[in-house]
Structures are given as C-alpha cells and as structure tokens.
C-alpha cells in the first residue's frame, strides 16, 4: 500500500462524508450535475491522479486507484471521478473525461469535456440521453468510434465501485438488524436473519478480494495482461450483487422498498453497475473460452502461475 494511496483515500473519504449523501444522489438522479462536488475533486487534483507528473498527475497506480474507487462506491459514487481518472490514465486532459462503453454510451456524457471512446482516443461529442438505468444515473449516448479500448478499464472501475457498494449495503443491513426489534428482540438475533447476513458477508469479502487482486494484476502487467483478473472481478462482484442485494432487501423488508429509506440508492446502483462494461455472463464467457482453448491440463497451472514471480 503506497503512501500516496493513503493520502488520496483520506481526502476522498473526507470529501464524501462531508459533501455527499442521499440528497446528492437524488440530485444526480434528477440529472443535476454535482458541480460543487466536482469542483472539489478537481481542486484536489484527483481526476488527473493517474497521469504522469509531466501531464499534471501523480502517476497513481491502478492498484491504488482501485482503492479510491471502492471508497467512491461505498458512497454511491456521486461523481464520475473513477471514470474520469481511468480515462485520464489513457489520455490526460483537463476537465471531466467520460468513459464510453463500446456501444457509445457513457455515464454523464452530457457533462464531459471530452470522452474516451472505444478507439482509445479522446473525442468531443454531442450526447443525448440513453436508455433508462435502474440507478437513474445519466447514461448518455453518442456516435463514437467503436472498439474495446475502454472495456477492461471500465469493467475494473465498475467492479471496484461495486465492491464498495456491496460493503455499504452489508453494513447498512447489519446495523438495521441490530436496531429493528420484533418479538421483543433485535431481528439479528434470529438465526434465519443472521445466517443470511453471514452468507452475504462472505460474498462481500470475496468481491473485495477479487477487485483488489484485479487492481494488483493491472499494476503489474497492464490492462491487457490482467484480462482474467478483471473479468473475474466483474463476475464475482456481479454474482455477489445478486445475493447481497437480495439479502439486504429481505432483512430490511418494507422500509427498504421505499424511496425514503436510503438502501435503494446503493442497491439500484449495484444493479446498474453490474451491467456496465460487460455483465457476468460476458466476462465468464471470455474467461471460459480462453481456458477451454488452453485445455484442462493447463487450467490449474495457469491459475497458480498468475502471481508467481
């Protein structure tokens, strides 16, 4: 863990604690660009953090960046900072940089100075609103050059945000289970409830490890050399979302089904992020096809060799 990461992480966490919450997320969903928050992250130099020093950054590594994105995800990622950081790692430039999926959709495209497209280059583009998302975050659409240049980075960004969102959902659910009383005791004392939360905790832990592992792999071998780990992270965070969101809503029952209570901000985001930049099926197929082509005899040696020096 680098010192730089600790510093940035602390800054981001403080900023999110002070200036973000359900109200910010509600504004985002109404299509209001979080200008004040973005101004703060820019003032801290965060969007360019992954760029080289000559380009105005601090050359933050992918593994450290992932830790920052997890923190963003914990807070529901009220600003598209993760996307902008990843885009700037390819092509540093001033302002908010959107990150387009291969089909030309990009979160907050309408607010972007430029967008990193599938060809790996920045473009200025006119965006129109895209398809509705469970998160109501503005996913906008533009006609852009196709290609997969952003696919791996986008999958990593989204699985990192999911790892954070999953943690937040678990914490909220455990806290609720400790305070909500029925039959004269906290519902968390019922095994039928606590066993579900324990299972969810296993998935949350797995998601965190899968994402950290992907960040480490990219830091070591570049995005291209970490396709397996990134794909695995997207698969595991996607699978974890299915279980953890289901458990969280079951434990919260009716209150969690409302707009008023804030559980939905995170679960709806998890459901949106798991479809961004390739869902579980997409990535599992890629990983699986590559492994089947290598054959059963290589499957274990390939896995074991991944982090051997």
């Amino acid at each position: 863990m680098s010192e730089m990461r600790d510093i940035l992480l602390e800054q981001v966490e403080r900023l999110l604690a002070d200036q973000s919450g359900p109200e910010t997320l509600r504004q985002v969903e109404a299509g209001v660009w979080p200008a004040a928050l973005w101004a703060e992250v820019e003032a801290l130099g965060l969007p360019l953090a992954m760029a080289s020093e000559e380009a105005g950054g601090v050359a933050l590594g992918w593994d450290d960046a992932v830790a920052v994105w997890v923190a963003l995800g914990r807070a529901g990622a009220p600003v598209p900072l993760a996307e902008s950081m990843a885009a700037a790692a390819f092509a540093p430039a001033a302002g908010f940089l959107a990150l387009a999926q291969p089909d030309g959709t990009a979160m907050w495209g309408r607010a972007a100075a430029q967008v990193l497209a599938g060809d790996g280059a920045l473009h200025a583009a006119g965006f129109t609103p895209g398809k509705a998302q469970p998160s109501n975050e503005p996913w906008d659409r533009a006609t852009l050059p196709g290609g997969e240049a952003t696919l791996l980075a986008g999958a990593l960004v989204n699985s990192a945000k999911m790892a954070g969102g999953l943690e937040a959902v678990l914490t909220l659910s455990v806290d609720y289970a400790n305070v909500r009383k029925q039959f004269g005791k906290p519902i968390g004392q019922f095994q039928a409830v606590s066993q579900q939360l324990s299972q969810a905790a296993g998935e949350v832990a797995a998601a965190g490890v899968a994402v950290a592992n992907a960040g480490r792999a990219v830091a070591r071998r570049g995005l291209g050399g970490a396709e397996f780990e990134i794909g695995a992270a997207k698969v595991i965070t996607g699978e974890a979302t299915a279980l953890v969101a289901a458990v969280a809503h079951q434990v919260h029952a009716a209150i969690g089904f409302t707009q008023d209570y804030h559980l939905h901000f995170t679960t709806r985001r998890l459901w949106a992020w798991r479809d961004a930049f390739g869902n579980e099926r997409f990535w599992a197929q890629r990983i699986g096809r590559a492994a089947l082509a290598r054959g059963g005899a290589n499957a274990w040696p390939d896995l074991a060799a991944r982090e051997d020096g």
């Binding site: 455990v174 324990s198 949350v204 197929q285 990983i287 089947l292 054959g295 074991a304």
Partner: protein
C-alpha cells in the same frame, strides 16, 4: 470489511521451482490414481504415498529442523498443499498430522513428545486421526461425555468417539475428553482435556463405518477402560477446550476448504469444447477459484505472521465450501449426453463426497454463526 481483513499476499519467490518439483513428482506418483481416489483426495489414505512425500521434505515444512522439520515458510507449505489438492492426491495419511497434530505437539507438547512424534510425522510414518465428535455431541462439541478418569500414572478412558476419519488406518488420535464433570451445563467448556491416544492400545475397538459412497472412510471408536499414560497428555489438564479451539485457524483456513473438487473441473474441460453453455460455466468457476485462492493465500500469510485468523478462516471455509460443493452438480449440468467414463466416475463419487464438505470441520450453520458474531450481530 467489518473487522475481517483479507490483505493480498504474493506466493513466495521459491514457488515456481517448488511447483516444478511437485508436479514432476505428482505426475509420476499419480499415474495409477483412479478417478475415485482423486474424488476423495484429502480423505484418501495411502501410506506409501505419504512416505514418499515425507522423503521429499513436504511434510512439516515449516517446523524446526531440530525435529526434522523443513524451516520453510507457511507460503511455501501453501504452494505444496495446493499442488497436491489440485490433482486430487491421496494425502489423507499425512494431512492431519501435518495440518493439526504436529503443530499442536510443537506448540503445547513436552520436549519428550516432540522428539517422539514430530520426526515420525515428518517422515510420513505416523498417521493421526481427530477424535472430537461423539454420538451425542456434534456441533455442540463441548457437551461431549467420553471420560478420562485420573488414575495413578495416567488416565482411564471410557466412552465413544464417532465419525473419526481413517481411525482404523491411523496410529494415533488427538482426542478431546472429559476429565472432570462440568460444574453446570453453562460451564461445559471446563474440565476438558486433550490426550494423544495410541489407537492400538488395549481396550480400544474401532468399527469402520461405510460412507454413502461405499468407502470405509470413518469409524466409531469405543474406549473400554483404556489406559493412557501421563506422558500422552497434551498441554494442560482441563485446558482442552481452549487448546482445541486454537487449532481451528489451522484446521479451517487451508486450501482444502475450496479445492476439494477442482480436479473434476480440470478433468471435464477437455470434453466440453462443443457444449455452448461451457464457456460461461467454466469462466464463473475459474473466477471463483481464483478469488478463493487469493483469500486463502491471505489467511496463509496471516499464519506466516504469527496471527490466528480464526474468523477469517471460518469465512473462507464457508464461501469455499459453497463453491467446492456446488461444483460436481454444475459440471453434470453441462452434459446433455453421457460423460466420458473417467469424468463420470469422478463426478458420481464426488457428488456424494461433496455432501461432507459443509459438515466436516464445522457445519455451514456453525460457521455462519461465527461470522455473524464477528459482524456484530448481537
């Protein structure tokens, strides 16, 4: 996450060379292992194989050289374990001694016990069983009743242990016994003591029990006035519960808690090229295997640092058991027609053996209870 830490670890620098050595050995040794043997893996007992493993220095790898140990790192040991499990090696004759009994004797045993037992565990000569469960005490282990009554020069044992894996093939069992009655049911953890029991001692009857797949995998042991000398007391009389539960981080954290069924995945892959559902299914399984491996390595790293990550171990065992237990069914679901013979043999056996994954070493429900407490559910 909520007090549970899984910091990433690297495999040790020695890993590539060690793996090459292990793979060459396992390829040769494994030429005649049947799919059924591989399906049992760390419950499969093969003393000759364990002696060969011992000869190569792969038992007691982290233990002091004074007792024949290898003084290598926990992570090197980890590499050795995972290479054995990945091919379904029949490691049952040395697994328990290496994982639990040896470390226990080194930590709490007398100098005499260390000299007596450790070198012979290292060489693969001595096989250990775990004598915890009883007919009326499973998950509620502390309720156990088998008595060890103090007599001049030792203890006299009466009662029964059950489900003791491979006891009829082993030399010794580390047992947990009641040396004094619990003062009241709430204090049942008191008065328990760990004794090393020579399974050939007079008064012991070991009756193998057929498991559902048709193997004599475990046993019922009856103790009828069995004398155990004082020299086989482990640690302190009356401290058995604390001692036994401190083994749990070792017992639950290893790669055998997620890898038990991996040999089936790799065996099946080559017959699945034309199956349209295979890439996704295989991809999901490999994604999970890789993630569990990183979690498991993380726990091995904590053991290396001298920590006792019992709660992390419970969590990885739970997530790992789910994965390894579901695998045989997921493989089966990929075949519309018959599986190739060797895959079918392994799948059929493993599907039965897999029922035990979420039972042995603490059931799923017990593990989730431990995790719940760690989460702060009160």
């Amino acid at each position: 996450m909520v007090g549970l830490r899984f910091d990433l670890r690297d495999t040790p620098p020695e890993a590539p060379a060690l793996r090459a050595e292990l793979r060459a050995f396992l390829a040769e040794a494994g030429r005649h292992w049947s799919p059924r043997v591989r399906a049992y893996s760390w419950m499969a007992f093969d003393r000759d194989f364990s002696r060969e493993v011992g000869k190569r220095g792969w038992i007691g790898m982290t233990w002091p050289a004074a007792y024949g140990g290898g003084e290598r790192s926990f992570l090197e040991r980890y590499v050795t374990l995972e290479e054995m499990l990945a091919v379904g090696a029949p490691v049952g004759a040395h697994w328990i001694g290496d994982r639990q009994s040896g470390p226990l004797i080194l930590r709490l045993g007398t100098e005499e016990q260390r000299r007596e037992f450790i070198p012979r565990i290292v060489s693969g000569e001595l096989a250990f069983a775990i004598g915890l469960s009883e007919p009326d005490s499973g998950s509620d282990l502390a309720s156990l009743r088998t008595r060890a009554e103090k007599v001049p020069g030792g203890y006299r044992l009466n009662g029964r242990k059950v489900w003791t894996t491979n006891a009829h093939r082993c030399d010794f069992a580390i047992t947990l016994l009641r040396t004094s009655p619990a003062p009241d049911p709430k204090l049942k953890h008191q008065g328990l003591t760990q004794l090393l029991v020579d399974l050939r001692a007079s008064g012991i009857e070991i009756r193998p029990i057929l498991d559902l797949a048709g193997e004599e995998g475990f046993n019922e042991i009856t103790f009828d006035n069995v004398f155990v000398p004082d020299s086989l007391l482990i640690g302190v009389e009356g401290k058995g519960w604390e001692q036994a539960t401190s083994e749990l981080a070792f017992e639950r954290s290893g790669p055998e808690r997620y890898l038990s069924s991996l040999p089936l995945l790799t065996a099946a892959m080559d017959s699945l090229h034309d199956e349209p559902a295979a890439p996704e299914a295989v991809g999901r399984m490999l994604a999970r295997a890789n993630t569990l491996r990183q979690m498991s390595l993380s726990v091995a790293g904590m053991l290396q640092d001298g920590e006792a990550p019992a709660r992390e171990a419970a969590l990885i065992k739970d997530v790992g058991n789910d994965f390894e237990q579901a695998l045989p069914d997921r493989i089966r679901a990929l075949y519309a027609g018959p599986m190739p013979d060797d895959v079918a043999e392994m799948q059929t056996t493993m599907n039965m053996v897999a029922r035990s994954y979420s039972l042995r070493g603490g059931t799923r429900e017990i593990l989730r209870g431990i995790i719940a407490r760690q989460l702060g559910l009160r």
